[in-house]
């Protein structure tokens, strides 16, 4: 039995360990930062070039009007679902083990949404006119087209982004207060003072806090599901073969959770190493995520199979043709790769021994992410290259460096945001870890009296 969080761990130590992650970083941090910066720089450069010359530099054409941008956009949206899953859903399920890790998962949600938003922009032919898509009251009397799934998309994403930011923030208030109290005067201290909204840890504050947190959590879950369903309807509501599939929304949501969990494992390993969080991000927790991921992987595989089957047994020749072309055409290597990464690799997670083997799990999680990214690409591109009109079939355009560059850059952008977050805010929720520890200790002490006594003590302690 691996080492789990010790019930005897000192709360001061918890504060100390977590706050240490806010202190001036190790050299490794700077190295990563520079790499991320340069990646982002590349992406930015490509985008500026594309903006100047025109979308043609991405080497899109008729009929291949959408490229990696849309695929990557879906990928990042999907990524964002993990945070909600861990913090909101598991919160409602009172799964204690989520407590040390949900904070960075939420951050991930927020930042990947921001990244996804970028791709919507990058994709536009006339970026400088994007505001036409916003339903603002203009003297022109023209409105966006409310029939267009793309418009629903924009709205859903915006809503999701704003509410997940709120959720992230609310969840952090008690910790911010702790930071405020433990830091020497300086800009950070004043920042936390402002952000912690005068948190004192009084009973009333705790009550309101929990109520708010719960409400937002409840609000967030259906939202998260709807967001990716809407992204799915971008395709499902169109008329094209290979897109016009009823099972797309659940399929996309499953895919989203899947890639989200995979991403969590990746970041889990990284943070655990970088910030020395072995105490809190323990192997049993990893094991739990891995198992969860495996479950979702199976759901995704099932839905994937359902999609193929429903196309295969339909009389829709066009869609069938697309499917065949995916498996045999020029996209075949990527398509098989996707199926391998998405449906075969996860079986590694079944092996009990490997579930806690950090290097293996790290590798696996990366493969899963790759698979999920490929999945999105395989949804977008093949349909274009094998649509209804044979005269333009297989008129393929291999993405240019500009496209790859921007995709590449988006990862840099995400990393930047995330690293910034880790240095500015506690990436492990201190108060919840304390709760967790407390619950464990309760499990040991059985008497009502102790319970009562400790409870009062703890309440005061917890405030400081």
């Amino acid at each position: 039995m691996e080492k789990d969080i010790r019930e005897s761990i000192e709360w001061a130590k918890i504060n100390g360990d977590v706050l240490k992650s806010l202190e001036s970083p190790r050299p490794l941090f700077w190295v990563i930062l520079v790499i991320a910066l340069s990646m982002f720089g590349v992406g930015l450069g490509c985008e500026i070039y594309q903006y100047q010359i025109g979308m043609g530099v991405a080497n899109l054409n008729n009929p291949q009007v959408w490229g990696l941008y849309i695929a990557t956009f879906i990928f990042w949206i999907g990524m964002s679902h993990s945070g909600t899953l861990l913090s909101a859903i598991l919160h409602l399920m009172h799964a204690d083990w989520r407590k040390p890790i949900y904070r960075f998962a939420e951050a991930m949600t927020t930042f990947s949404l921001m990244t996804a938003g970028l791709f919507v922009m990058v994709h536009l032919g006339r970026l400088w006119q994007f505001y036409y898509a916003i339903p603002y009251p203009s003297e022109r009397w023209v409105w966006p087209n409310f029939q267009s799934p793309l418009l629903w998309d924009a709205m859903a994403i915006f809503t999701y982004l704003s509410s997940s930011v709120i959720f992230l923030f609310i969840g952090m208030i008690p910790d911010l207060a702790i930071c405020r109290d433990h830091l020497h005067p300086g800009w950070r201290k004043s920042l936390y003072t402002v952000l912690s909204l005068g948190w004192e840890g009084t009973d009333r504050q705790w009550r309101n806090f929990r109520m708010t947190y719960l409400t937002v959590a409840c609000f967030l879950i259906p939202l998260a599901v709807s967001v990716h369903s809407i992204v799915a309807s971008d395709f499902a509501m169109s008329q094209q073969p290979g897109w016009h599939v009823t099972s797309f929304p659940p399929y996309f949501v499953a895919g989203a959770l899947y890639s989200g969990c995979a991403a969590i494992i990746t970041l889990f390993v990284i943070l655990r190493y970088v910030f020395k969080f072995e105490e809190y991000m323990t192997l049993p927790i990893l094991k739990k995520i891995v198992r969860l991921t495996f479950a979702i992987a199976m759901v995704w595989t099932y839905l994937n199979a359902v999609e193929f089957a429903s196309v295969w047994y339909s009389h829709d020749e066009a869609s069938k043709a697309v499917l065949i072309q995916k498996a045999t055409g020029i996209y075949a290597p990527f398509w098989w790769m996707m199926n391998f990464c998405g449906s075969v690799v996860p079986f590694v997670m079944m092996i009990k021994r490997l579930q806690t083997n950090i290097p293996v799990m790290f590798a696996v999680s990366l493969l899963l992410n790759l698979g999920m990214w490929l999945e999105r690409w395989m949804i977008v591109s093949p349909t274009f290259s094998h649509g209804y009109y044979p005269y333009l079939w297989d008129n393929n355009q291999w993405p240019t460096l500009v496209q790859w560059g921007i995709v590449f850059g988006s990862f840099g952008w995400f990393t930047l945001l995330f690293m910034g977050f880790c240095k500015l805010f506690p990436s492990v929720s201190m108060y919840e870890v304390k709760e967790m520890v407390y619950h464990r200790s309760l499990a040991l002490k059985h008497t009502e009296r102790n319970l009562a006594v400790n409870a009062t003590e703890l309440a005061e302690k917890g405030a400081h």
Partner: protein, 736 residues
Amino acid sequence: MIENSFNRRDFLKVLGWGGTAVALSGCGNTSIQDGVETVVSYVEPPEYAIPGISVYFNSTCAQCDAGCNITGRLREGRVLKLEGNPNSVINHGKLCGLGQAGVQAHYNPDRVREPLLRNGDKGEVIAWDKALGLINEKLSGVKGDEIAFLTGGLSGHVKVLLNNYLEALGSKNHYAYEAVSPSVVRAANKKAYGVEMPRLRLDKAKVVVSFGADFLGAWVSPVNFSQQYAKFRKADENGRGVLVQIESKMTLTGANADRWIVIRPGTEGILALGIVNALGASGVSLPADVAAVSKAYSSERVSKDTGVPAEQIEKLAALLKERSPSLVITGSAAEGYAHGSQNAAAIALLNRVLGNIGKTIEAPANVPFPQVAVTTGNRSSVQALNDSLANGKIKVLFSYGTNPVFTAPTALKFKENLGKVPFKIAFAHYLDETSREADLVLPLDSALEDWGTSVPEYLGEASQLSIQQPLMEKLHPNTKGLGDILLALLKQRREKEYKDYEDFYSYLRSAVVKNKSALGGSGEDDDTFWTNTLSNGIVPFSASSNNLSAKSSAAGLVLPPPADENSGYPLHLIPSVTASLRDGRHANQPWLQESPDPLTTIVWDSWVELHPKTAAKLGIVEGDIVEVTSRSGSVKAQAYLFPGIHPDAVSIPLGNGHVALGRWAKDVGVNAFGILDQVVDKETGELALNETRVKISKTGKRVFIVKDEGAVGGSQAGVKIAVRVSTDDVELSGEV
């Protein structure tokens, strides 16, 4: 309308109104802006030109020899678009892509703008009077027969002036050269029907059998034929016409045929006689002389020689017998081969046997003024010229409207012989390969800026004089019309005769107005007549049609056996004339380069058409860069696998492969003229275009062919896009 165009040119000096000429910011500023743009209004208001309203002027298309009548659409003094003139008897308001690209010839940025005098290997700008003076002095002391004038096909008053000028110089050397003209067909027609270009009535025919005549694409007068074709296809009282195309390489016309019959190159004549024989066998009475010739051609033998199945021949004969009148047309079958004339004669027999002469082959209306009638260009003339160049007989050479350095077979060494001429003058729109060699280049007005008249070779319903008039003011101040230049040159010689003509325009006007009574303008005063003439753009001749003489004898008609397999050069090269590029003089008009070749959908390049079978044999796949080698040279181009070609043949389109001409033509594709062998038709001495034998070798390089069709090429992959139905399963009668 207006009396005199020069006022009009002044009137037309006006800049664009809001968002016209400068409409290049289509999605630019999104809000109103005050006092930024300037509006320049007219100084004097032209009655007919209202800003924002289009005006239309009639003129004549100069893009090919069909000489369609066009209508130019003008806005604010700029010609925007060329459309067909509805009153034309040639094109009835329609216009082909080539014709419409005329505006790009006019606005082309690569036009010559100043007179250029050679200095070393570059041209220096000189003034017009200097240039003309120079010509005069170069001509002094040169004997008449040492002066030569090389042109393309030429007609109308420019031709009159040219002839007068040559006469004034005492020269008889007028060489009219057209690289892809149907010159052997003309000769054959002359023999068979008594006229060079009879009127073909597709619209009357129930069956049309064409031996490689691409009359829908690039042959003689495509727009006229296309309209007849539409009538011919319509299921009216004499039913939907049937088109059978017999050729070795599918042309646009072949692609539209009910039955496209692929034939071994050069054996068309044999097949024709085979059909005659089959007709005889099926009970059609053959004249003795014909029967004598044709009896040797049993279906079996013909089928062996031509590769056309015997039953196919029978079927065709049956169809011809059953459906009359029919029409048999000779195209590449005649132009292509050393025995082209015999082929043509044999094919003409078919028309005679089927009694089409007088029914679907009619006499053309004749041209009452022979001096303006067309001088058709041919290929033998350039050979003649080349000879006299070679032995230095020519001291001064004028060239206009043709580009032999590009189109003449390298075997002639034309370019190098040209060098032997001490002084060469080129009247040019562009610096093409030939005018680049000239010592003096005189810039010409575009066809839309110039005055002129023309009489097309193929006349259609009636003969007429087509008026060419400026549609807008000159783009470049220092260009001149050919007529004006010739007039100026004539004045050097015959001052008093021409002194009262201030310019070509006045010459033209008086020349036409003088004969107004003969031109149906009797009773009108000169100005009204002239005004009507200009507004119509057409002057109908009171035409008395001459008649055909159908007394050609088949006696002595012998056809050579099919060409033996030539081991060294196994394949026949069939250079194809495409509808948009023709002989390549318009290759610098981007619309023509960008509009896909109808059959291969390839753009912006040349290609080598190979039958998939041949390709498989040679291990060639689409996109391979192959080297096509003849005895006279070789070119490298991309291979395109094309089912519509005889396995023993390869085809390269003509017109591309320029080394000069302009930004859109230079270094695009390869020039197939270059590798043609100098083999001529025995009777006429015309270059036989399809007689070149080639061999093909891979170079190892491979490219993606730039074409419009997708990777699945011509397949519809079972999707119902373009549907075809057999006459059995469709009810055509009563269609509107």
